[in-house]
């Protein structure tokens, strides 16, 4: 009597192979998931108390980032504009817009506007804006096309891999000092040479830039 059909051997081999491959695939899949935009909150727009548009204020009006994010050159923290900063203009224009009611209320009550954070590194990571800005890493390199964003979103994954990719070889991303805040900067054709030259003038040494203690202090 024949218990097994002729194909049984193949099926058995496949099952054994599947048992072997499952853990490998599972690890691979979870690794992919971990770094997927879904897990890193990439490109998620958040509801804000006021629908503040960078597209409008940066591209439309040509405002410099530092008009509002004042401490970005001097400190770890880029700085969020206090209500007075909005009021330097909105005390005179769009004074009755319903959209801006929370801004007026905030000024009247002396209560800061509670913006929802878009970027958030874990507390065990140390990040500093001033050093990046001083060494020619532009805002849009990390924050994407801010000038096209109606609502702010996180353009980069902000994973450790992402930080390290640049820390190993920053030259392709470096800009001249005067272009750091330019929301429309694009790498010139000779970026390969220009970047290397800039890395030298900024005195960037990559030998210690991937040490754990640079970012985990």
């Amino acid at each position: 009597m024949q218990l097994f059909r002729p194909g049984a051997n193949t099926i058995a081999m496949l099952v054994i192979a599947a048992i072997g491959a499952t853990p490998v695939l599972a690890v691979g899949l979870s690794y992919q998931l971990m770094r997927s935009p879904y897990a890193t909150d990439q490109n998620v727009t958040r509801n804000q108390p006021v629908p503040f548009s960078h597209e409008h204020h940066v591209s439309g009006l040509g405002l410099d980032c530092r008009y509002c994010h004042t401490s970005v050159e001097k400190a770890r923290f880029a700085g969020m504009p206090p209500t007075e900063t909005c009021m330097t203009c909105h005390s005179q224009i769009w004074t009755n817009a319903r959209m801006l009611a929370p801004v007026r209320e905030s000024l009247a009550k002396g209560q800061p506007i509670a913006w929802t954070r878009v970027h958030r590194l874990p507390d065990y990571v140390y990040f500093d804006h001033s050093v990046h800005v001083a060494k020619g890493v532009g805002c849009t390199t990390c924050h994407g096309e801010v000038g096209q964003m109606r609502l702010m979103r996180q353009a980069a994954p902000l994973t450790m891999q992402w930080c390290l990719d640049c820390h190993r070889n920053p030259a392709p991303h470096l800009r001249p000092t005067e272009a750091v805040f330019d929301p429309n900067w694009h790498a010139p054709k000779d970026q390969a040479e220009a970047g290397a030259r800039l890395a030298a003038t900024y005195h960037i040494h990559t030998d210690h830039l991937t040490d754990c203690t640079i970012c985990h202090r």
Binding site: C89, I93, D123
Partner: protein, 176 residues
Amino acid sequence: MTIRRLLCLMMLPAALGGCGDHSMTQQNRYGTFTKAALFRDGTEAQVPPKGAIAQGELDRARQVATPPPVDMALLARGRERFGIYCSPCHGLSGHGDGMIVQRGFPAPPSFHSSRLRAADARHFFDVITNGYGAMYSYAARVEPRDRWAIIAYIRALQQSQRTDMTEVPQLRSKLP
């Protein structure tokens, strides 16, 4: 049997102790500008108590009192700061026709009017520090040294709009 059950029960607290988030993602400290239950106004950003003197305050007072010497570096700094904080309203050349004015903000006076050409530097300094009419104060965003730098650059702008061709003869050949 009961002993084994007891042992299992004793393991439970140890196992539960391992639960919770130990990843240090959220550490027990306040971040910049975060909510902070510890303070009455509920925010981490506290104003210094009355009478406290902030670090660097004396140095800042000195910068207010004495303008720095004008050199190319100061002018370059002034040009950059003017571009960030003043040009949206006053325009890149100081005629008072910036982008925000084009969108309906009251027009400021031109820096090239005879009154503002004659005004002394301290008046400009006071306008930046305290604001003026519809213009808000920029003291929180422009350091005293940068205020002097901006004023030096405004002087250069004023000069640029009434240069006599005889003063720079080499320019003539470059004009169309």
